[in-house]
């Protein structure tokens, strides 16, 4: 996978998290995971189809998701309820929309699937034949991993 695909997502994740949470955001080290990716607890997944195909996963622990949703709503949420899930989905939407605009400007053409949210312990996401590049974004409420597996269509 080419690194240039992940940069727009990292940049826009940085901007959006900083804006909506109004907090310090630190970018962790990029790393590579093989096809089977354990998920931290709450994952919003957006699929891409077109010139490039694959998916982006916004992955965080349940505790982090609840805190992020609480800050975004100005409400203290106690559990990962419908409001919390809708908020994390919207966060994924915001980050993706900004990144995709950049990728379209670079000439890549593709469509997006609406974000789907997955929750649970010991989940794994398998992406056939594409390794995933991951950039952890560290915020005061934990970390959000931007997990991108994209390839050019053959």
């Amino acid at each position: 996978m080419r690194v240039e695909y992940i940069n727009p997502f990292v940049e826009s994740a940085y901007n959006v998290l900083k804006e909506v949470l109004n907090c310090q955001v630190n970018r962790g080290e990029l790393y590579l995971k093989s096809t089977s990716t354990p998920v931290l607890g709450v994952a919003a997944l957006v699929g891409l189809a077109g010139d490039v195909e694959g998916r982006i996963l916004f992955d965080m622990s349940k505790e982090t998701a609840i805190k992020v949703a609480s800050v975004m709503n100005g409400e203290e949420l106690k559990e990962l309820d419908d409001l919390a899930k809708a908020t994390i989905t919207e966060l994924a939407n915001m980050i993706t929309a900004q990144a995709v605009t950049k990728l379209h400007d670079l000439g890549f053409k593709f469509d997006l699937t609406p974000p789907a949210i997955f929750t649970g312990d010991n989940m794994e996401v398998t992406t056939a034949e594409v390794e995933a590049l991951i950039v952890p974004m560290v915020i005061p409420y934990g970390k959000v991993e931007i997990n991108v597996a994209i390839r050019e269509r053959l």
Binding site: V71, N73, E76, D82
Partner: protein, 145 residues
């Protein structure tokens, strides 16, 4: 933010945000979350409403309401906010203007506070997560009350 929810409907009816004389309804948005303020703002402006002001706590809401009055048609009022909560702010706004139109914005599980707000004179309430349809429906209904 481009979701299909945020696109205004394109047809020849009068947008919900305009009065009969063609001028926009003026809304004061009160919420301690910038995310929610922006969400409500986008939904309303896409229908022609005018955002007359925003406030991020109850005290600021009262000050802004008095400052805008009588050029304010409706208030969206968050319940949970720092300094002064939305129910207290509602009460004070109703004392100042008994015809004020206030719509409460609530998270799930706050039925008691919502009930109290309705007794204090709130016209309606919206439970988060917010969506375009729900927000417009409740606000338009409250303006007609």
């Amino acid at each position: 933010m481009k979701t299909k929810m945020d696109f205004p409907a394109i047809n020849d009816r009068r947008p919900e945000g305009l009065k009969e004389d063609g001028t926009p309804y003026r809304v004061l948005i009160v919420d301690d979350s910038m995310f929610v303020t922006k969400q409500i703002g986008q939904i309303l402006t896409s229908e022609g409403f005018e955002i007359a002001g925003v406030a991020s706590d109850g005290q600021e809401a009262i000050d802004k309401y008095k400052e805008l009055y009588p050029n304010v048609d409706l208030v969206t009022m968050d319940i949970t906010m720092p300094k002064m909560d939305g129910v207290t702010a509602l009460e004070k706004i109703m004392e100042f203007d008994k015809n004020a139109k206030v719509v409460m914005i609530s998270a799930l599980g706050k039925q008691d506070l919502v009930k109290k707000s309705l007794l204090l004179g709130a016209k309606n309430y919206i439970v988060k997560p917010l969506d375009r349809k729900k927000v417009l429906e409740r606000i338009v209904m409250s303006l007609k009350k």
